[in-house]
């Protein structure tokens, strides 16, 4: 067996409170993580059209061959999949992942992944210690928040011995078990509920917390004391040290000049949180297992430990508006979000929408939408807690918002109207706008042709943040638009087309933009979600520490893969695995009802011009464009999308992917070329094969 794998997947059957194992070898061609999860889901979930709340829904929780190893920003990310409950109007098969150390312990316990099937007849938690798996009553845990539940499980598993070597079979450990749990929102089956692990790690998109709740599953605890076998340990250590040169970690003795920096891998300790707390509150970095960067923070107040940007973004602007700067309120509000176990994007979209409705005189005490929320208190931790309590427990405005913003809008009869005016920031498929499809199109398109808000920042950092922040401060981005196009032309193999970086009014509807979106879908499906390279570090295109500004992408991924597994796989071969996984996912969505007609943005994207601060990024949209024979960074503010041109772009994209342009369904030829003829057979049987 290749290094990096344990060879076994643990199947957890909640209905019968029994476990069995699945040989993971036949799924290893998918890498691990997402690819393995999709393939396992395809095989185990017999009816892929059921609701996410149905006991027949299969949830996969997968490690990657890099989990628990020394691959930087890859060792600690766990991928979760299954039928989600946030998608609208269809509950699409979807994914989320979370950092921390859960997947490391899975591997050390002997497992490449878990499947969670069926539903228990009463609340349970699962105690996994190496090969031993026990179903335990969650009577004493039900009702505890996501922090309390973890601390209680730590206490049980550690048996009071906090710093001692404890025996587990023949092996020993000093470590706490890794626990994945739900808070109140999950227990009440909210569509907004997240899975929470350690401090600040959450799988929020998709609403898998509510899926756990429906399965009567409070938590999974895993403690492993074994090892991950590494095919070439020396090469792994060498590769790790090589990669350090591309990171702040390798340059701590030098001046740090953050302005103009753009690389993801090069990012700094605590950078994901440091900006959002009170400036004078002492803090240190917190990192996921094996991370070279450690982007999160531990605060002197301990509030919101381990949280990152988006956990704060649901509320930080209101704290700032109310108090003049970030205060303890934002830390306490974020802490509450983590404890309830609510997806921050849902909370963010909901507050923006409610606040807009309030300003329009529609929502407030005694108004058309009656609420006890006092908007004069917006910005305080108390307001946030009251609002989150409503969402988690389903009363007041939370009666509707418990179902998530899209279903709430439908319930209040406001979906069409509010997504047309844009006061409800839903971009597509029921997901809250994260980055603007009108200006940063690779993000919007990727979400449109997929299952959810993509949440992949590799291009985002370089095409939006670096130029926009630099513009804000009157500085030059570290990577010029010229250099960006040149680097992408080199690195975005197999297309290698610099015009993929053209975000001009013409460029965004071009064949090159179709290639960019396809490249991104394939890259992230394999390298980020299957090998589990962290979104906050990879892909590494431009890197201020790299030779001539070149990052590791293209070279780094195969180097680490070979060191860990022993398999010589080229970067392009990995991209093909990504394309295979992407098509497999596509087939599942199609069985669930997806077709070309459903791939449209909500109306505001076509009818209202993009403005900074539409959700919470109060930053102008400056993006790379090719104009008059030159590469420039220019503002795209005010842009709206053209419906017909988006439709033309879709035809280009479907054609490039080998899908039927009329329906968006993959053809048999495409699926067979990828070794997915069994998938083609199932689509054909359902009458949904592209022609």
């Amino acid at each position: 067996m290749a290094g990096g794998y344990t060879g076994k997947i643990l199947r957890i059957d909640l209905t019968n409170k029994s476990v069995s194992t699945l040989d993971s070898e036949k799924y290893q061609e998918y890498g691990g993580g997402h690819g393995m999860g999709s393939a396992v889901f395809w095989d185990l979930c017999e009816d892929k059209t059921v609701s996410g709340f149905d006991p027949k829904n299969v949830v996969t929780i997968m490690a990657s061959p890099f989990s628990g190893t020394l691959v930087p920003a890859a060792s600690g990310r766990t991928e979760v999949q299954g039928i989600g409950v946030q998608g609208y109007p269809i509950e699409y098969f979807t994914r989320s992942n979370f950092g921390g150390r859960f997947c490391g312990h899975m591997k050390w316990a002997g497992w490449d992944g878990f499947t969670v099937e069926g539903a228990a007849d009463e609340p349970v938690w699962i105690d996994i210690r190496n090969g031993e798996v026990e179903f335990k009553s969650a009577e004493g845990l039900w009702g505890l928040d996501a922090v309390e539940a973890q601390e209680e499980i730590w206490r049980i598993v550690q048996n009071g011995e906090e710093k001692e070597w404890r025996e587990l079979g023949k092996e020993r450990t000093t470590q706490r078990p890794a626990v994945l749990t739900i808070g109140k929102a999950g227990e009440t089956l909210s569509r907004t509920a997240a899975l929470i692990h350690d401090a600040g790690n959450g799988a929020g998109q998709g609403g898998f917390g509510g899926v756990f709740g429906a399965k009567n599953l409070k938590a999974i605890s895993v403690l492993g004391t074994g090892s991950v076998e590494i095919a070439d340990p020396k090469a792994l250590m060498d590769a790790r040290l090589w990669s350090m040169e591309y990171a702040v970690a390798g340059h701590l003795d030098e001046d740090y000049t953050p302005l103009g920096m753009g690389s993801m891998f090069g990012g700094a300790p605590a950078s994901g949180a440091a900006g959002y707390g009170p400036a004078d509150q002492p803090k240190s970095p917190i990192g996921c297992l094996g991370c070279h960067k450690n982007c999160r923070a531990r605060f002197a107040s301990a509030a919101s430990n381990g949280s990152s940007c988006v956990d704060y973004f649901f509320y930080h602007v209101y704290d700032q508006a109310a108090h003049g700067s970030y205060t303890q309120h934002i830390l306490d509000a974020t802490e509450a979000l983590q404890r309830y176990g609510i997806n921050s994007y849902q909370a963010e979209g909901a507050i923006i929408w409610l606040n807009n409705l309030h300003k329009e005189g529609i929502l407030g005490p005694g108004l058309e939408i009656d609420t006890a929320l006092d908007f004069n208190q917006l910005g305080t931790a108390e307001f946030a807690k009251q609002f989150l309590d409503m969402m988690a427990n389903g009363y007041d405005v939370g009666e509707a918002l418990h179902e998530g913003v899209a279903y709430a809008a439908e319930k209040w009869g406001r979906y069409e109207q509010d997504t047309a005016s844009g006061i409800l920031p839903l971009q597509c498929h029921g997901y809250v706008q994260h980055y603007d499809a009108r200006t940063e199109v690779e993000w919007g398109y990727g979400s449109l042709v997929g299952d959810r808000d993509i949440n992949e920042h590799d291009f985002n950092t370089l095409v939006f943040w670096a130029p926009s922040i630099s513009a804000l401060f009157g500085a030059q981005p570290a990577c010029s638009a010229d250099q960006l196009a040149e680097i992408m032309g080199e690195k975005l193999s197999p297309y290698n087309d610099p015009m993929m970086m053209d975000y001009s009014d013409e460029g965004i509807y071009s064949e090159s933009m179709a290639k960019l979106v396809a490249w991104h879908r394939h890259y992230t499906r394999y390298y980020k979600q299957s090998l589990a390279l962290c979104d906050w570090a990879w892909g590494d295109f431009f890197n201020e520490y790299g030779p001539e500004g070149r990052g590791m992408t293209g070279e780094g991924e195969p180097k680490f893969y070979k060191a860990v597994t022993g398999i010589d796989q080229s970067f392009e071969e990995g991209m093909e695995v990504g394309r295979k996984i992407w098509n497999l996912d596509r087939a599942i969505w199609i069985l669930q009802g997806r077709d070309r007609e459903l791939e449209v943005f909500t109306d505001y994207n076509y009818e209202v011009g993009a403005v900074p601060g539409y959700t919470t990024y109060e930053v102008p949209y400056v993006v790379p464009m090719y104009k008059d024979g030159q590469w420039v960074y220019e503002s795209a503010v005010g842009r709206m999308l053209d419906r017909d041109k988006v439709e033309e772009w879709k035809t280009k994209f479907y054609t490039l992917e080998g899908w039927d342009p009329a329906t968006g369904w993959p053809t048999r030829a495409t699926l067979e070329e990828l070794g997915l003829s069994h998938v083609a057979d199932d689509l054909e049987a359902a009458g949904k094969l592209g022609s």
């Binding site: 090892s227 340990p233 003795d253 300790p269 400036a279 002492p282 094996g290």
Partner: protein, 253 residues
Amino acid sequence: MADNDIKTTEGQGYSRRQFLIGAGGVGIGALAGGFMVKSFFLPDSVFAVPASEGYLVVDTHKCAGCASCMLACSLVHSGETSLSLSRIQVINNVFAAYGEEDSVVQEQCRQCPHPYCAEACPTGAMHADPDNGNVRTVDQAKCIGCERCIEACPFTPSRVQWDPKKRKAQKCDLCKDTPYMTEEGGVGGQQACVAVCPTRAISFVSDIPAQTDTGYQVNLRDDNVAWALLGLPTEDDGSYAPVATAAPAPTGH
């Protein structure tokens, strides 16, 4: 285990544990730190070994709890990644506050001036290695797996580990015996944990640093120019050394 055991010392009528307690808040470490000598004698001691020429120091105010050091330690020694096989143990309570005792606990071997582990070893397997700067090391060929060294280490958890596959003791050798590391390890060489630590929270020093029972009191924050520029406190009380204020990092965070 080690912390609860009372280890009696023949002929003296008091235990080493009591001796440590008797040294009060200062403890063995601080006491030892004051003696910059090549050998160290306790009242009962006929057992004296030369001082180690290398030590690891860790700044817990910097440590992110990523365990990269642990993964590197097991990787270069055993060729596999495992927390249980790591000679350095980081125990991270992610819910605890910055500065709170036990928020992140770094447990590395102190290379004690009086190594109880070596003293307890009946075969001489645990010894000060003259070929490697007198680092306290297990010669696994001589180790019979009796675990007396593990129990003798006065720290909790014991800095000597159990290797369940070989059924022998192992401990930090400052990376001398590292078949899976390209660079030479040991005193004068590279330590895997130091090399990979992304916050530079671990450092190798040649002289025994001042220490207390809870660890060495080191500040490695002000060694790094970037630390304060990143908005992270450099002083032990959580305050900052005066530096230019950094602008927000446009890394999308």
